[in-house]
Symmetry: C2
């Protein structure tokens, strides 16, 4: 990419179809490889990560079952348990599978201050084996409490299955996790991928706090990868440096309706470290030395030309979204 | 507020109910008075502004009719016309009014590149008198094109009703508007309030671009006030300085379900000018000299204690959302 190193800012309109090779391994620095759509493959090609499904409180509008089957553990944050329960109502037209039984889809953990979960739902899942962890602290939100639970599960569950018993009901998860971190020799550095439903698209302060936590988690726990899945798109973080985003083909996440073969995407500079300089290879409107920041230019309604992947180089962490339209 | 001028950052937990007086007029600088819920009042108390309804492309999930009746002109951005059309389908359970006739709710303008509007919908509204303005430019999005249309309407319509005829079909609205601005003597400085449906909560790049435009419009056209209305909340900008947000009572936008009388809100530092220092008077978790920025602390899941209003003083423009739950 050295030919693009001059500092002329430009946008190059590309053809709808491009083949982009992965970044050269000969480069001195490694790149960040992101496979956002592995969860949509019928047989996952790479299974190096521990996959987790985290359900927050909004109506579930995606095909939950395919994602569920890809995940090792399932966590509901407070009212997310209501959402899961209601997904199996007979009149729910969002699921694409026949003969679904609610009792076959029991979350491993339910976490939160429990101001949203209905008593009947709580009783149902408790009687079916879910581990119920009440945390009343108002200093952490339900998303953060769930992240603590997920990380503690992978640190502690293999030695003590009921690791969460007898913790403080106010903020025991946070205390336990912070305690582990402060005695750093006991924390095992494990790759975890968390698919989060309903963190984006509800109340706007919750959406923004979810994005804030996405940035903060990448700074604090770079081995934890988070994908927010919404009715419309998938949202994740590109890390400072070179990012290679790959997939089998674009039909995985974008139906070919005859009019446009290019899925829509955006690059969203929502951190406190801006402006960010972008270079992209494989987008419809490829950018060279392109300065982006809020109150300036933001790449929305861009499109993906790369048939099996594309590359984005960024001067600091930046949020990306890709439309899912299948 | 001089007693809070020391630079100690703190959060004060307030009672659920407070009476907050408007900021003192004796202060040397004036304050920004925001009345987000005037549109919900059966009889609007203040009608100094020109009210506009702008509908973007997503399913309409709010009570459209009450808002429609408060507005002087209605604009649909491209597929927003489909959303409006579908709102009047018989099987739509979101409207709360009987015997709605689609033909009684015809938008004044339909604007966009028209890659989303269905031909039948376009024909229907054209034959019922809507003014159809095609703008194919991919440099401006449908939201921005609509804003140009609204501003030009208020500048030109009183002298020439078909002001938009014979403009360039690529980016004629932008050229006309920029031309007016460059000959600044002809631009009349008019207070306009734009209620925007469906700008937030769909594809995430569109959500972020809407927020970006909210900040930019306030810099460029401070007399244009924008409220984004979603299924969950109302979103608007607090301006640098003192903001007084007032309403008749909290029941206007938050039903009293017995458990919590305090509506939820957030203060969201999404601009490129951060950190922002906040002082608030009338929130459940009132802030003093509170530093907020992305990747730092963000006030989400805060609540409103002020019975008829509250005050937020901010060191720069910041986005606010208030949950609507009626």
């Amino acid at each position: 990419m050295s030919e693009d190193s001059e500092l002329i800012e430009q946008v190059i309109e590309q053809p709808d179809s491009l083949i982009i090779s992965p970044p050269s391994d000969s480069s001195s620095s490694s790149y960040n490889h992101i496979q956002p759509f592995v969860y949509l493959e019928s047989t996952a090609t790479t299974q190096t990560n521990h996959n987790v499904l985290l359900i927050l409180n909004q109506k579930i509008t995606i095909d939950l079952i395919s994602l569920w089957k890809k995940c090792e553990i399932i966590v509901c944050a407070d009212g997310g348990a209501n959402s899961l329960y209601e997904y199996f109502n007979d009149n729910n037209h969002h699921h694409h599978h026949e003969n679904l039984q609610r009792s076959d889809y029991i979350p491993d953990y339910i976490v939160g201050d429990f101001d949203s979960i209905s008593p009947d739902v709580k009783t149902y899942y408790e009687s079916h084996g879910s581990k119920i962890i009440r945390q009343s602290s108002q200093y952490y939100n339900d998303f953060t409490k769930s992240i603590h639970c997920i990380q503690l599960h992978y640190q502690l569950n293999h030695t003590k299955e009921n690791w969460f018993e007898s913790i403080d009901e106010v903020d025991g998860l946070a205390k336990l996790w912070n305690g582990l971190n402060n005695s750093s020799d006991v924390v095992v550095d494990i790759d975890i991928t968390i698919y989060v439903l309903n963190a984006i698209g509800g109340r706007f302060d919750q959406t923004v706090q979810s994005i804030n936590q996405l940035y903060i988690m990448n700074e604090d726990y770079p081995k934890v990868t988070v994908f927010f899945i919404t009715t419309n798109d998938i949202i994740f973080l590109l890390k400072k440096g070179v990012n290679y985003i790959s997939y089998k083909n674009r039909l995985m996440f974008h139906k070919d309706n005859g009019s446009s073969p290019t899925p829509t995407c955006g690059l969203l500079p929502l951190s406190n470290k801006t402006p960010i300089i972008l270079n992209s290879y494989g987008l419809k409107y490829d950018m060279r030395n392109w300065k982006t920041e809020m109150l300036g230019q933001v790449s929305s309604s861009n499109r993906i030309s790369g048939e099996t992947g594309f590359i984005v180089e960024c001067s600091d962490d930046i949020v990306m979204n890709i439309e899912i339209d299948v």
